[in-house]
């Protein structure tokens, strides 16, 4: 029988209790959701930083280097770092290889760092369903900086931008030409852009293409609320209005060599600067507001779906689906028949 973690032990930073809490939450148990409810009032303090980019771009190594600097800052106190590293589950077997820890061995033995790997378990978009809940638990447990590493992302795995306060997009040399650089999607969500493996021959080209794209952008700020509109809520979201017009954040671009730790100091400075920017311009609250309302929205939708499932009888669903597959009724007509 494994010891059951509890809220008090999580708040006290007991590592075994934190690990158990994460498992309960990940498995969506009653105990896990009760724990989240209890811990919620203690959350909202941590800086959530997302690290995303294509497979093999060097996200894990970069997370390792970033965490090292926050643990041994040149000025000030060491920051407690939580890391959530997401890797994909097999769509066929549900199994997964979670290999991000391989690149994070420098952090081993440091009690101020907690690393947890998680599999997507069927969720698309670059994160797992419970990644946000993991961040809340680590936040409540007193980790001040939470680095969230997404699965190797393509062009449209942009969920991280909804969860994180600060999103770092990592590219590697040879990503494509300047047309790739102006496409919509993952590059747009970057608060900070990194070209890793900058010691490789193609690095200059990639840096130039990305730099040119940043220069093309008209100075404007997509607030977290504008972003949320990409994704319609079931209710009218309440905006957090700030009285001042916010300053504009220009995403900086950094070359790094994460295996050797080059360029990381500047990147860390930008992370700290972005946090200050968010806080000074009301953007922190905006992003929190957008995220929490989206979370409520997701819960609402899954609640109504399960309510509906309980009311409708199974043979009716089968009949409707059967007719749909036989092309007797369109998907729209099928919906009406089910309601």
């Amino acid at each position: 029988m494994k010891s059951i973690g509890n809220a008090q032990a999580v708040l006290a930073g007991d590592r075994r209790a934190i690990a158990r809490a994460l498992t309960e939450v990940e498995n969506d148990t009653k105990f896990g959701s009760a724990l989240l409810d209890e811990l919620f009032v203690y959350t909202g303090k941590a800086h959530l930083v997302g690290v995303t980019g294509s497979p093999g771009a060097g996200k894990s190594s970069l997370v390792n280097q970033i965490a090292k600097i926050f643990r041994k800052p040149k000025v000030g106190q060491p920051v407690r770092v939580g890391i959530v590293a997401v890797d994909p589950s097999s769509p066929f077997t549900g199994g997964a290889i979670l290999g991000d820890r391989v690149r994070m061995r420098d952090l081993s033995g440091d009690s101020g760092v907690f690393i947890r790997s998680m599999a997507t378990r069927g969720t698309l978009g670059g994160l797992a369903k419970k990644t946000s809940a993991f961040a809340q638990i680590l936040d409540a447990a007193g980790y001040e900086l939470i680095l969230i590493e997404t699965v190797g992302a393509g062009q449209s795995e942009v969920d991280i931008a909804r969860l994180a306060h600060t999103t770092i997009v990592v590219e590697s040399p040879g990503m494509g030409d300047d047309i790739q650089a102006i496409k919509a999607g993952i590059l747009e969500i970057a608060d900070i852009l990194v070209v890793n493996k900058a010691d490789q021959p193609m690095a200059d080209l990639t840096l130039r293409a990305l730099k040119a794209n940043l220069d093309l952008a008209h100075p404007q700020q997509f607030s977290a609320f504008d972003r949320m509109h990409l994704h319609t809520l079931a209710f009218e979201p309440i905006p957090i209005v700030s009285s001042d017009v916010p300053d504009i954040w220009f995403p900086p671009l950094f070359p790094t060599v994460s295996t050797r730790g080059e360029g990381i100091e500047l990147l860390v400075e930008a992370i700290v600067a972005h946090k200050a920017y968010l806080q000074d311009n009301g953007q922190w609250q905006q992003r929190e507001a957008a995220r929490l309302q989206e979370e409520l929205n997701d819960l609402l939708l899954s609640y109504f779906a399960s309510q509906w499932r309980m009311q409708v009888n199974k043979s009716k669903i089968e009949e409707v689906v059967h007719d749909l597959l036989a092309r007797k009724y369109s998907p729209q007509q099928s919906l009406k028949r089910l309601l």
Partner: protein, 135 residues
């Protein structure tokens, strides 16, 4: 939904060959488990720390260096110090048959030598964690 089995695959000690470890990791993945792979040259402390943070059900150790009689007790002790005495430990690699009883005596759940069929490992892990095997 059947609960996910989480397994840590680790290579303690100094030998640099992880083909066996990867083979097992892959077989467990294909059996629907979540496998945390930590790479080469792990100390006992690194292994037990990873097992704790990842809250795994099983720790699989791959040892080819012949140092198993020294490493395994240290890993078991470190797991115990972390409150992970309930985790099931499997050992695979180049383990002479005469050492196997002693390893099992220490509290290792199973020992696998060269020539092990990966499906046997999958079956044993399921049996030990879930308490049954599905055929």
């Amino acid at each position: 939904m059947e609960r996910k089995i989480r397994v840590l695959i680790a290579k303690p000690g100094l030998d640099g060959h992880d083909r066996g470890a990867k083979l097992i990791a892959r077989a467990l993945r294909d059996a629907g488990m979540e496998v945390i792979y930590t790479g080469l040259r792990q100390t006992p402390e690194m292994i037990s720390e990873a097992a704790l943070q990842e809250d795994v059900d099983v720790v699989g150790l791959s040892i080819l260096s012949g140092a198993h009689m020294g490493l395994v007790p240290r890993i078991l002790k470190s797991l115990q110090e972390n409150g992970m005495q309930d985790v099931h430990v499997f050992v695979g690699g180049i383990i002479p048959e005469e050492d196997m009883p002693a390893l099992l005596e220490m509290g290792v759940s199973a020992v696998y030598g060269p020539g092990t069929v990966t499906q046997q490992v999958v079956k044993d892990v399921r049996k030990i964690v879930l308490g049954y095997t599905e055929e």
